[in-house]
């Protein structure tokens, strides 16, 4: 089976939408394809490699303030108790959940899929330089006046 990004993008945005709703009760109001990622905020990227059925990567770029709000909503409790490690753990869990759900949507029922370990680091646009192309799709997801960017990349 040929996994063309144009044909599987919808499953990815569905997986993101379902995961956001169930993990921290956030509704994605709009999802648009973009050519570049434009964020001036301090942000984090959580990325997970897809190993099978295709080799590639899914990345989510979330600004720092929103990351903190997401963690508060996910785990409950006091804002003062949230630290960098907790944010990285929470975003990694989100990445893992989204990519697992995405791959389970695109593979035929009884076929295996495989994903790598999530990695959460500070977002630096110069390190990535993602541009929309046949093998790279970029999405801007809007929720409550904030934006999360998503990268779907095929090796």
């Amino acid at each position: 089976m040929n996994y063309e990004l144009d044909q599987i993008s919808e499953e990815l945005t569905e997986a993101i939408s379902e995961s956001f709703e169930n993990l921290f009760f956030a509704d994605i109001e709009q999802c648009v394809s973009v050519n570049e990622i434009e964020t001036e905020e301090e942000a984090l990227i959580v990325s997970v490699d897809t190993i099978a059925p295709f080799k590639g990567k899914v990345g989510l770029i979330i600004d720092k303030e929103m990351s903190e709000e997401i963690v508060m909503e996910m785990v409950g409790g006091d804002f003062d108790l949230i630290d960098k490690e907790m944010i990285a753990d929470a975003l990694s869990e989100i990445g893992n959940t989204i990519v697992g759900r995405f791959l389970s949507k695109i593979v035929p029922e009884d076929e295996e899929f495989s994903l790598g370990f999530p990695e959460c680091i500070k977002w630096n646009p110069d390190d990535y330089n993602y541009k929309s192309s046949e093998n790279c799709k970029l999405f801007d997801l809007e929720l409550e006046d904030k934006h999360v960017f998503c990268v779907l990349n095929k090796d």
Binding site: L23, E93, S104, E109, L115
Partner: protein
Amino acid sequence: MNQVLIVDDSSMARTLIKRSLEICGFENMEISEAPNGKEALDIMKNKPFDLVFTDLNMPVLDGEGLLKRIKSSPKLNHIPVVIISSKTNSATERKLIADHAQAVLSKPLSIPELNSVLENSLNLAKI
């Protein structure tokens, strides 16, 4: 008091399962945690449990191994085991159910689905 054991190598994943259980609103539930199947079995030696939630992919002893050990133990095999994973497909689900998993849930947990599993599992555990 229902005794529930959550087994996952990610502390955040364990926190999220606890949070989902809180949202379900079941009272009288005491929750214990273990980071892998081996430590779960150690905890189960000393404490009776009514329900176990376990991830599949874990170091030392994974969720499938834990399920098999529980179901082959005359002392533990009455305990319902619910698998929670982001990496399951239909074939894996069927295999786990054949190995006597109570249910296989995909991440992210849906509260209605979790509620239904809790009602069924805790009732079963009391029979």
